[in-house]
Amino acid sequence: MTSTIAPEDHSPEEAPAVAHEGLEARAAVAERRRGFLLGLPAMVYLTLLFVLPFFIVGVYSFATRSATGSTRLSDWNIDSYVKLFDPLVVGIVWRSFWIASLTTVICLVVAYPFAYYIATRSRAARNVLLVFVMIPFWSNFLIRTYAWRFLLGSDGPIAQASEALGLGTIRVLFTPVAVAIGLIYGFLPFMILPLYAAIERMDWRLVEAARDLYADGWTAFRKVTLPLTKSGILAGSLLVFVPSFGAYVTPEILGGAKTVMLGSYVVRQFQQARNWPFGSALSIVIMIIMLVALIARQRSGAREL
């Protein structure tokens, strides 16, 4: 952002470029240094408290658990990774995967028409409708999950109402269904917001053009709207799938002994089981799934361009 002080006329070609070359180069260096200094605190902080811890987890996953439960950073081995293929662990990973997938698909199916609907209202209505999505987005996740524990409990309002109406008892709490409900409830705003953003900034003239060229409503949606909102679909799916896959609070509150998910299993390795190397290896699995999801999104996004 160097400003050459040109008199009267402002045509850049006539600025005495040669005389200012050294000055401009120096200004460019100063600019780069300024940017670097501004970014430096975040870079240092995240290197120390994010990147470095990431590698420490990697190192721990090859360490040895002693008989007392403490971790010995020696006798490096891959026992923790071998243990990942234990049928019990494979079962937990598989359960986490399908519950997270189910959550993502249901969120997408519900959120797409919802986001489409609010994004196509008048500006004033849109703002009000959006605020009522932001409130659950900003509300305490733990409390929102607890609300379902309260609702679905054997002594809760739903059970009482169904008993009073003679519908018998409904057992949902501590099943995968309860966990999925809790995850959908928790993460639905994370699907709605990117979808809303993508639909809102769409150029509707393109849909009109498709209709003018005799595409029926469905074809226009499939060939124009859907590809144009793909970034929102991908972003929302990522923001729902990854946290659901590693979820801990929700399965812990709404799930039972038979619905253990990966997140809870990891915590158990650090608390009750005291097997840090194995807990680290399990964390690495979550990170790999996260990176695969990120790369998958990056690539399908790149193809679009």
């Binding site: 970014g39 987890v57 409130i135 309260f150 002594d155 409830y185 709605i192 923001l239 979820a247």
Partner: protein
């Protein structure tokens, strides 16, 4: 036909129905919980008349107050620090080309999507190693409010940076160029032009950081020492033991606090239109 769907058509009505269903799904559980927090009966699902006993109980409980105090201290510290670092990072990435800018951009996105269990494990092992290293020189460090605040800053920087960047992206750069043309130095331009313009974004980011810090359970539980329990960790401990009318009351108080924060955020950001910035940024990243 502007939006491709005819007003009043069956499809539009179905979408309106879906929208009302989503709102009911969002609010029915919360509202039920709030109503039953005033239930006099100790059997939580049966209505036994109005009462504020449970509120009196939680406000008399010293554990609640201690946990709240810890939460507020950690949230205040982590919000201030992460807002400064995050805003600087957003400015750096949005305005400058420098060595490592793409790396910083990439790393900044990860704490947003990483599941909190993974983040918790990373923080625990990090502090375990650091402590083992420092202890070998003499001083004895331990987990506590300090480690909780350091961990919260680690994930909050990214959220602040995202919100501030959304705001920076909408700025008219010619205003800053005009200031520079009028001989304002870089610092003066920042203080008098850029900062006032991005202030709504900075405050929005700070409020998001504050909320996330006040909500966090998993990371905090991993890096908390004895006596440094925060409010969500305390509530989580109660919730695991089952449903109780006291938790209902405490939940209501926390929900009201969250909603007050959203209202505050909408006010400082002047209109809910700004809240969609975050949505746009999440969609683009």
């Amino acid at each position: 036909m502007r939006f491709g769907i005819r007003p009043g058509s069956t499809l539009e009505r179905a979408m309106a129905g879906n929208a009302w269903f989503v709102y009911a799904f969002f609010y029915a559980p919360i509202i039920t919980l709030v109503i039953f927090s005033f239930n006099a009966s100790s059997r939580v699902g049966i209505w036994g008349g109005l009462s504020t006993t449970w509120y009196a109980n939680i406000f008399r409980n010293p554990e609640v107050w201690d946990a709240l105090k810890n939460s507020l201290v950690v949230a205040a510290v982590s919000t201030v620090v992460s807002t400064i670092i995050g805003t600087a990072a957003a400015l750096a990435i949005d305005r400058y080309r420098f060595r490592g800018d793409r790396t910083l951009d990439g790393i900044l996105y990860l704490p947003i999507i990483i599941p909190d269990v993974t983040m918790a494990v990373m923080m625990l092992l990090f502090f375990a190693r650091i402590f083992a290293f420092v202890d070998s020189f003499g001083p004895r460090l331990s987990l506590g409010l300090g480690t909780i605040a350091l961990s919260h800053i680690a994930f909050n920087i990214s959220f602040v940076a995202v919100v501030v960047r959304a705001r920076l992206g909408q700025l008219d750069k010619s205003l800053e160029e005009a200031a520079r043309d009028l001989y304002a130095g870089p610092w003066e331009t920042f203080r008098r032009v850029t900062l006032p313009l991005i202030m709504p974004g900075v405050l929005g980011g700070a409020l998001l950081a504050l909320t996330l810090s006040l909500d966090d359970v998993v990371v905090t539980a991993f890096v908390a020492g004895p006596g440094s329990t925060t409010l969500p960790v305390y509530v989580f401990g109660l919730v695991r033991r089952g449903v109780s009318p006291e938790i209902n009351a405490l939940s209501t108080v926390m929900l009201v606090a969250s909603i007050a924060l959203v209202a505050g955020s909408l006010l400082v950001q002047r209109g809910p239109g700004r809240t969609s910035d975050l949505a746009h940024e999440l969609a683009q990243e």
